[in-house]
């Protein structure tokens, strides 16, 4: 009741504030008069009585203020008044306002942009029902975490884990080709368990989703669900597409439904065109369904109601124990058995799904977030310094306010209003900058990666921007406001200048030193990242990716299995067709692509090599066409490469790389030595027989640029059964000019082979450096931004101090000090500030850099080049910032300066 009355009273007062004001005035006047009356009646003279009454009543204005403050509405009114006042003062000093707003916009914009990416990649939950109930499963082996399981393991988890979870499974996204009344076209598809959609709680926008009955023990129902994006892109949202069928690897699939808009699966950043029941995979080998030799299913599960995460962990523990035993029993490799027996199940909160993008970009993004946070701190320090300088020039004004009875709190509030207004303007500018920034970020992240990422701001990003700007307002506004009001009104009004620099200087110095410390840290970090990127760029991949186009192709399929001979014939046809195109220098094909994750590892036996620990040696292998070394420009150092004479019927040959030769033969000549590919591990039979090494190539990078030297064994494609997955075409001129022609020609060679992807090899190389390039570029930009801000702050402070010391300088010059002495006097200040800042900043940076070492490549955290470069940049800025005021100081006219004292 009382509360309601207060609210109504407040609202009434707000609307009738004039009348209330009059009444209060009259009442207080009455009070004063009554007081005077009492005195005059007691015989005091009128004038004396008035004086006494005035003293007794105190400041009428203050009393009125206090009385007004009783209601809540006055705080609103005051806030409004403060804001209007702040707007007026800011308008009066446009330069200050512009500098502050731009500085803030840069700081807040950078933070918002990076946060948008953090939000999209790390924080956003899956667009499914009750995502907080989801858990993700992985198996942790002693040598790393395997996020995928075998089909048998998944089935076991479904069956035995059912009291705790509903487990759904999905393969990774696969590039394949489907034919819808025409030539095969590439699609990105995902094989999922029958309960995939129901577990995620996603229902079809049209038709139905994949359901449990589609996915019994293999073979399952050949049905498919389209993603909204693919439906739009390929079919123009035509509803009649439901019910139509297409061919995938010569099997007919029926489209049964469309997934809702915005549903991208369980992995953020992935594009999926089709979801199909996993047991319907055409031509899947039987070992895919039995045993644990192949792990290919990611598991995402939903907790049963009232079952907590720890209960799920405990409940699945015995389930996995049985799987572990099976895996161990299933392998012939003693090492893997040991490793499997030590593995354990990792159950984690899964509301964000699984994401390769998140795994790769989390660390760089968090580092960038810290960097932009520090930039904002530097920006705030700058504005705080500006505010302090303003407060110093407004000392008299503040003193008058205090003298006539304004409360300190009130003045601080006014200062904060100004800060908040600036922050709000800065946030507006920042949002605009952030929108531009996020598009730059998206390009940086996805430019070379096949991902779709929605970084558009949502409410969380907006909340972040608002909170950040409020935090900055407090950061740069509160301290100066408190400092400004802590003055002795009497002293300030008497016109006394603040003694030697005044109260602003110690705080101002601290702020500038902080800026220099933070800038040093940022510069050194940026230096390290740039150096690291340079080192990565300097890595010799061992092949020449320029002017090489790579095409991915599907294994040849038809109604009947395609024989090895026909497949080899198809590969020859494809290469011949490619080479016949004008502008093509040469074409080759291989099993493992250029820097691809699909590596072929094999146990081998090497003639004359006895492994010391009795463990069967393993190597990476690749099946290539004779032109491969030439097209990829992989130098053959000794012996020869493959030729067309290395046919099916010719004697078995192999080419190894230097690392292979060194590992197995040391200094001996590998040419003429014999090796064999084992069918199993440990080595059982040799289906290919022994092969004679005929050549040695230089080492190359096979799956990523950062890998250590790996032993590689090349075999001619004619002498092994492996399919070739990638075609490499070297062009004479710009590959872009002929890319479309080559693609069209290759796609037209034979319906049994589909071309499902085309890429410039250079882009493939660059894609592996996306995170590094992003962090190097952005950290350099932000480091320089921080340095510039710190430079401006330093200049401002030194210039201010010099003005304050004009009198002193005048006296010194009058007493015979030369210009050089004066310059030294001022520069000494600057050097001191920078030295203290750098002295604190370098150890801080070196300590911090150790946290970054995981993100650095062949660059130590205390890399001398990075550190000295940053110090150099800092010194340059310091010299400029210090020299300008110093020169101005030497132009002081001693007579003028002394007269002003």
């Amino acid at each position: 009741m009382a509360l309601l009355r207060r609210v109504i009273g407040g609202l009434k007062a707000m609307f009738r504030s004039d009348r209330a004001e009059q009444e209060l005035d009259e009442e207080l006047r009455g009070y004063l008069e009554a007081s005077i009356d009492v005195r005059t009646r007691a015989g005091v003279g009128r004038e004396e009585a008035v004086r006494a009454a005035r003293i007794e009543v105190g400041s009428i204005e203050a009393a009125k203020d206090h009385t007004r403050d009783v209601g809540w509405e006055t705080s609103v009114e005051n806030m409004w008044r403060d804001m209007r006042y702040a707007a007026r003062t800011l308008r009066k000093s446009p330069t200050f306002t512009a500098v502050a707003v731009v500085t803030l916009a840069l700081g807040i914009g950078a933070n918002t942009a990076i946060f948008s990416a953090v939000n999209a990649i790390m924080l956003r939950q899956l667009p499914v029902e009750r995502p907080e109930e989801l858990v993700s499963l992985a198996a942790a082996f002693p040598n790393g975490v395997d996020p995928v399981f075998s089909y048998a393991a998944y089935r076991k988890i479904v069956a035995d884990g059912s009291p705790f979870i509903d487990a759904a499974a999905a393969s990774t996204v696969r590039r394949d080709a489907i034919a819808i009344d025409g030539p095969p076209e590439p699609v990105d598809l995902k094989w999922v368990s029958g309960n995939y959609f129901s577990t995620l709680g996603v229902s079809a926008a049209l038709g139905r989703t994949v359901q449990t009955s589609d996915d019994p023990s293999p073979p399952g129902e050949p049905v498919a669900v389209l993603s909204d994006a693919y439906w739009t892109r390929r079919f123009g949202r035509d509803a009649t597409v439901v019910g139509r069928s297409f061919l995938l690897r010569a099997t007919s699939f029926t489209i049964v439904g469309i997934a809702p808009r915005g549903f991208f699966g369980e992995s953020a950043g992935e594009t999926v065109d089709l979801w199909m029941p996993m047991s319907a995979q055409p031509g899947a080998p039987s070992w895919l369904w039995k045993g644990h030799s192949t792990t290919w299913l990611g598991i995402l599960a939903r907790r049963r109601p009232d079952i907590g995460l720890s209960q799920v962990r405990a409940g699945l523990e015995p389930v996995y124990a049985r799987i572990r035993e099976e895996i161990a029993a299933d392998t012939e490799s003693p090492e893997f058995r040991r490793s499997a027996l030590q593995s354990r199940l990792v159950v984690d909160e899964g509301s964000h799904g699984s994401s390769r993008l998140r795994d790769n970009l989390s660390a760089p993004l968090l580092v960038l977030m810290a960097i932009v946070g520090l930039v904002l701190v530097v920006a705030c320090a700058n504005i705080a310094n500006l505010m302090l300088a303003r407060a110093a020039t407004r000392r008299r004004e503040t003193a008058v306010c205090l003298a006539i009875g304004a409360g300190r709190l009130r003045l601080v509030r006014q200062g904060m209003a100004e800060a908040l207004l600036l922050a709000a303007l800065g946030a507006l500018g920042g949002m605009v900058l952030a929108m531009w920034g996020t598009s730059v970020l998206t390009t940086l992240i996805s430019g070379a990666l096949p991902i779709s990422l929605d970084i558009s701001p949502d409410t969380r990003v907006l909340a972040f921007a608002v909170l950040t700007s409020c935090a900055t307002a407090i950061l740069f506004g509160l301290l100066p406001a408190l400092r400004a009001t802590r003055i002795d009104p009497l002293g300030a009004l008497k016109g006394g200048r603040p003694e030697h620099g005044g109260a602003r200087i110690p705080l101002g110095r601290t702020l500038v030193v902080t800026q220099i410390v933070v800038s040093t840290v940022l510069l050194i970090a940026a230096g390290l990242f740039v150096r690291s990127l340079g080192k990565l760029k300097d890595i010799d991949p061992g092949f020449d990716p320029d002017r090489v186009l790579i095409f991915r192709m599907t294994p040849p399929v038809a109604q009947q299995p395609v024989s090895v001979e026909i497949r080899r014939g198809l590969y020859r046809q494809l290469l011949e067709r490619a080479e016949s195109i004008p502008g093509v220098e040469g074409a080759s094909a291989s099993f493992s692509g250029v820097l691809s994750s699909g590596m072929w590892g094999n146990a081998i036996t090497v003639e004359g090599f006895i492994p010391r620990d009795g463990v069967t040696p393993r190597t990476f292998a690749n099946s290539v066409t004779p032109t491969y070394f030439d097209v990829m420009r992989i130098a053959v150092l000794r012996g020869r490469g493959f030729t067309i004479d290395d046919r099916e019927t010719a004697s078995r040959v192999a080419v190894v790389n230097e690392a292979f030769a060194e590992r197995f033969f040391g200094d001996a000549d590998p040419i003429g030595k014999r090796v064999g590919l084992c069918s199993s591990d440990p080595c059982g039979s040799l289906p290919n027989g022994m092969m004679e090494i005929v050549g040695v190539t230089e080492d190359a990078k096979y799956s990523n640029l950062r890998e250590e030297k790996r032993s590689m064994l090349y075999v001619p494609f004619t002498q092994v059964a492996q399919n070739l997955n990638e075609i490499q075409v070297r062009t004479v001129g710009d590959p872009a000019a002929v890319a479309a022609t080559i693609y069209r020609e290759l796609a037209g060679v034979d319906r049994r082979v589909a071309i499902v992807g085309m890429m410039h090899a250079r882009d493939r190389v660059d894609a592996s450096l996306v995170a590094e390039r992003m962090i190097a570029k952005l950290s350099a930009v932000f480091g320089l931004l921080a340095l510039t801000l710190a430079g401006v702050g330093l200049y401002g402070l030194v210039a201010y101090m010099t003005t304050q010391r004009r009198g002193e300088i005048g006296i010194r010059m009058a007493l015979g000090a030369g210009r050089r002495d004066v310059r030294r006097l001022v520069l000494r200040d600057t050097v001191m500030l920078v030295a203290v800042g750098a002295g604190l900043g370098i150890p801080a940076a070196l300590a911090g850099a150790r946290l970054l070492s995981k993100l650095l490549y062949q660059v130590g955290p205390s890399d001398p080049a990075a550190v000295s470069l940053s110090i150099g940049a800092l010194a340059c800025v310091a010299i400029v910032a210090g020299y300008l005021p110093a020169r101005r100081a030497t132009q002081v006219d001693p007579a003028n300066a002394l007269r002003a004292e």
Binding site: R5, L24, E27, L28, G30, D37, V57, A62, H66, G71
Partner: protein, 116 residues
């Protein structure tokens, strides 16, 4: 600011209770309340305008007193404050609480070891 050093001796809530009490005796205007408080307390409490008016405003807001413009004995217009029924009830409640509290405090202050 320094003017209300004496009245600050009166606890905020207490001042309101005292105002209610003076108004329970008869309607008074602002200055009258101050004088009456000083009289009754025999000069122990002196309330200045800076504390009195905010307190009056608060009481009025809460509906415990109402203001009424009347002519004073000196032929001037002044706002006389009157206790509302809620105000009277509030005074009764606060007096009771106050007495209970002071009695308790008095007991504590008088306590000797023998009684425990």
């Amino acid at each position: 600011m320094a003017a209300d050093s004496r009245s600050s001796d009166i606890v905020q809530g207490t001042l309101q209770m005292l105002i209610l009490k003076t108004l329970a005796l008869e309607p008074l205007h602002g200055y009258g309340i101050g004088v009456r408080l000083e009289q009754i307390s025999r000069g122990a409490f002196r309330v200045n305008a800076g504390s009195l008016f905010p307190a009056l405003r608060r009481l009025e807001r809460d509906g415990l007193i109402t203001g009424d413009w009347r002519v004073t004995e000196n032929n001037r217009r002044a706002k006389y404050y009157v206790l509302t029924p809620q105000g009277r009830a509030q005074l009764k409640r606060e007096t009771r609480d106050w007495e209970a509290q002071t009695a308790a405090i008095a007991r504590i202050l008088k306590a000797s070891l023998g009684e425990l």
